[in-house]
Every structure is written in C-alpha cells, then in structure tokens.
C-alpha cells in the first residue's frame, strides 16, 4: 500500500502540473479547455525531438546526471519545449478562441473548439511521429529503497521535486508579482479588471503561455516516468478535470492538492481494480464532488 501511495504521489505530481495550468486557464477564459491533455503530449514530444534528434544532430554530447535516467540535455530541453508549447497554446487562443469570444459565442462552443484543437494536435503528432511509443532514454531504471518502505526511482524523486518547484514558482508569481495579482484579479472579476484598466487580452495570452508551459512540463515528466505516446495526455483529461473540480475551478492551490489526491486515489484503487480503470476512478471522484460539493473542497469561482 505504501508503494501505491508513493507512486500515486509521483503521478499526482504530474497531474498537478496539468491541473494547475488547466484551472488557471479555466478561471480566466471561463471555459473547459479540452485540449489541455494534448498540450502535455505536445511538450513531451517536443522534448523528444530535442533530446533524440536536434541536440545529437548538433553534435552535442550528453552526460547522465547521477542516477537519473537522463542527462543535462534533457534539462536544457525543458526550456524550449515548455516555451513553444506555451506559445502554441497562446497562438490557438489568439487565432481561434479570441475570435470566437468577439463573436459572442457561448462557453460551450469554445469548449467544443478546444475539443477540436485536441484532435488537431493529436493528429499532427500522429502524422509527424507515428503511433509508436518512444522513450527518452532506453534501458532499465534502478529503484531506490527509501524509508517507510517506499520504493521510488531517482527519476520519480526528480519528478516530485520538479513539480513542487514549478508550483512554488507559480505561487510566488501569483502572490508577489504585479502580473500575477492582475491574473488573480481577472479570475475574480473580469469586468472590473477591464474597468480598472488591466489589459485583459494581454493577460489572457500570458495565462495560456503559463498554463500551456506547465502542461508541457507535466508531459515531459510523464514521458520520463513511462514513455512518450500520442494518447498520453488525452488519457489524463478525466483525472485532470477531476483534480481541477476537486480543488475548485480557478483555484491554483486547490488544483495542487487535487492533483495529488487524484493521483494517490487512482493508484491506491489498483489494489482492488484493474489499472485500466484508473480514469474511471477519477471520474467517480469527480461525480461525487459534483454531487456533494460542486464548488470543490476549497471553493472556486
């Protein structure tokens, strides 16, 4: 059981990165971004492109970092992969969602457009990379024995730490910087933000960059933990929404907790259910929350 909780925390940390980005976007643009899972996938594939093709083609030699399964090239690749994904997300907002907003369509139609984007992104990935699995680095990964009977790989500790670092960075950004406060203000009251003079369209673009970037980071970590495949992000869509709703829509700290909770609950459920049912477990949690505490554990917008 301890092992399950441990692995649940690893997966939960990955979910958290996706959920925090999703809830930020949800709070600002006010529709469910069904393309969020595929943003995670995009990030993972961009990192793959960089570490397996581009850097080697440039003649860069990689060196493994300690007992991690990857080297410094992967660390460096984080930056462009998350940045490009963020820009892609912002681009789809500028080109598609913003135009639809100006037409005054309902949030449902925006959600439908994001569903279309999910399929578009995924089909591009299928076309460019094919349906097979890929690994960042081949080979076995050794386990570390930790206290309390936890068995985690060094990679997984890296995942948990990275996830926390990014979330803390986001926290500092939202609490201490002018733009972060403006984003929180917009999520609170978009009309008043406009009245106050806050440039809401610009802020929206930044939200997509940040949300998309965090999703990409989550996707890369997922790829490090298991493998890179076209459906990797789409499969997480249900758990991501469960985490977001659990924490309260628009509530970034709620999404943090939500991600970890869903991750652990999903993993613990494999004690009794087949792993294939993990999304169904997340779904069951989601339905329970919607029925009994629809504003989430911490309350949201």
């Amino acid at each position: 059981m301890v092992e399950l909780v441990g692995y649940g925390l690893v997966l939960g940390s990955i979910l958290t990165l996706g959920a925090v980005g999703l809830t930020l976007i949800y709070g600002i643009v006010r529709f469910a971004n069904f393309g969020h899972g595929d943003l995670m996938t995009l990030g993972a594939y961009l990192a793959l492109l960089l570490t397996v093709r581009i850097f080697p083609a440039l003649g860069v030699l990689d060196r493994r970092l300690g007992s991690l399964s990857f080297g410094w090239v992967m660390l460096v690749s984080f930056v462009p992969a998350t940045l490009v994904t963020g820009l892609v997300a912002a681009g789809t907002d500028r080109l598609i969602y913003r135009r639809m907003r100006r037409l005054g369509v309902s949030p449902v139609m925006l959600a439908m457009a994001s569903l279309a984007m999910a399929f578009i992104l995924r089909s591009l990935i299928y076309i460019l990379w094919g349906p097979d699995f890929h690994f960042y680095t081949p080979g076995l990964r050794p386990m570390l024995m930790l206290p309390l009977g936890l068995k985690l790989r060094p990679d997984q500790i890296f995942i948990i730490v990275t996830s926390w670092v990014l979330v803390i960075a986001l926290y500092v950004f939202l609490q201490r910087t002018k733009m972060g406060k403006a984003l929180r203000a917009m999520a609170d009251n978009p009309d008043l933000a406009r009245i106050t003079g806050i440039p809401t369209e610009q802020m929206t673009t930044w939200t997509w960059i940040i949300g998309g970037g965090m999703a990409a980071a989550g996707g890369i970590l997922l790829g490090i933990d298991s493998q890179v495949r076209p459906e990797m992000g789409w499969i997480l869509l249900l758990p991501l929404f469960a985490a977001v709703i659990l924490g309260g829509i628009g509530n970034a700290y709620g999404a943090l907790v939500g991600g970890l909770v869903i991750g652990v609950v999903q993993q613990v459920s494999t004690q009794w259910l087949m792993p294939a049912y993990k999304p169904a477990v997340a779904f069951a949690v989601l339905i329970l929350i919607l029925l009994f505490r629809p504003r989430g554990i911490f309350g949201g917008s």
Binding site: K181, D188, N189, T196, G197
Partner: protein, 234 residues
C-alpha cells in the same frame, strides 16, 4: 469648457433603446447627481459615458476631447474613473492588492498615493492585509472608491455608492465624497437615495424613462415640491 459633456446621447442594449437623447454637463470641481426611478436609465448612462456601452447617437466629451467610442481601458488613462454599483471589488484579493490593481497602469511609484488613500479611509489601513470578500458592505464600498482613486483621476463616476449600505455608512461615504471633492475631484453620481444625493450635490438631474426631466441646483431641487413628491417621499 465643461469637465464632462454628454450631448444628445441615444444608447441601449442591442435593439432596445434606453436613453433617448440625453444631454447633461458637469463642470470642473462640481458634484452632480442623477436621480430617478428604477429603470430610468441611470446606470445605462454611466456605462455609456465610460465606454462599456456604445452610444448609438450623440457625443461624450471629457476635458474637451471626444471619448464617445473609446473603450474603458483608454478612458481610464485620461483621468476618468468608474465605480460600478455591484461587483466593484476583487473579493479574493486583499485591501492592499485591490488598491494596487487600481494603480496597475501607473508606471511610477504609487506607494505615496496608497498612503493618501489610506488617509482618506483609515479603517482600510487597519485591514490592508484582509481579503476584501470578508469585509462588510460598507468597507467594500470604501475599497471600491479607494481603488478608483489610485490613478489620481480628475473625475469619478459613481454608480449608486450608497446601495445596500447601513445609514451610518451612507453618511460616511458621502462625507468622504465631500472630502475628495475638496481635493479637487469632480463627481457624477447616480443615486437611488435622492435626498442624500441632492444634499451633497451642487447640481442634479432627474432622469425618467431615458429622458432628462428636470435639472437644477441641489438645494433648490431638495426644496422643490414636485421632486419632493416623486422621490423624496413627501
């Protein structure tokens, strides 16, 4: 040249026309109130002036320049700020953060301005770290007003500043408005509480069904029998 000039404005929502040819003016340093029954179009007038609604006909001039088709983001930069009637604060942000948001478009050091606002509303200074959603209605109204003052505006548009407030706070708000007026800010106020509004105004307009019905000096309107019957409950 008036501080604010509204000339022949026709405005509304979609195809529904709410304001039919309304003209008012506000001179520099004045407090002008607009009173009238519900649905008269008072809020619509405010929103049209501030660019949240587009006038279908007519002009809005601020400090001699036409602002008729400008969006709120640009109007705010010219020194005209707006406090809506409802949802006029950021509830999950602290008092301090609400004021900081008010100063968002300033790129100078506005810390002294925040202190000036706290001087006007000392109760807020004690609560600067409190989330505004937890404050009482009267306190929230003070935050709303303070937020609008952060840009050192020349003129303020207030939409029903006393709405939903206890009488103590109503008196307090209007007293603060007088204090801010003394600092040189011009006011256009829309109010349900006609008596309070006229008592504190230099001039007033009566708006009924989207048209200007009466105008006059504040004290004179208070004494007027017609207005008394209609709005002051006499």
């Amino acid at each position: 040249m008036s501080m604010l000039g509204v000339e022949g404005v026709v405005s509304g929502y979609g195809e529904m026309e709410i304001l039919h040819d309304v003209s008012i003016r506000v001179e520099r340093g004045e407090v002008v109130s607009i009173i009238g029954p519900n649905g008269a179009g008072k809020s619509t007038l405010m929103k049209t002036i501030f660019g949240l609604l587009t006038a279908q006909r007519g002009r809005v001039l601020f400090a001699g320049q036409e602002i008729t088709h400008l969006p709120p983001e640009q109007i705010v930069r010219r020194g005209l700020c707006y406090v809506p009637q409802e949802d006029n604060v950021f509830p999950s942000l602290t008092v301090q953060e609400n004021l900081e948001m008010g100063a968002f478009i300033r790129d100078d050091d506005y810390r002294s301005r925040i202190e000036e606002v706290y001087d006007l509303f000392p109760d807020l200074r004690d609560r600067r770290g409190t989330r505004v959603g937890k404050l009482s209605g009267g306190m929230q109204q003070m935050v709303a007003l303070g937020r609008a003052l952060m840009l050192d505006p020349q003129m303020l548009l207030l939409d029903e500043p006393s709405a939903g407030l206890a009488p103590l706070f109503v008196e307090l708000i209007f007293e603060r408005i007088r204090a801010i007026k003394r600092q040189g800010v011009t006011f256009l106020i829309v109010e349900q509480n006609a008596r309070k509004a006229l008592e504190n105004s230099d001039r007033g307009y009566v708006l009924v069904e989207g048209r200007k019905r009466l105008e006059g000096r504040g004290q004179a309107m208070l004494a007027d029998e017609q207005i008394g019957q209609l709005f002051l409950g006499r």
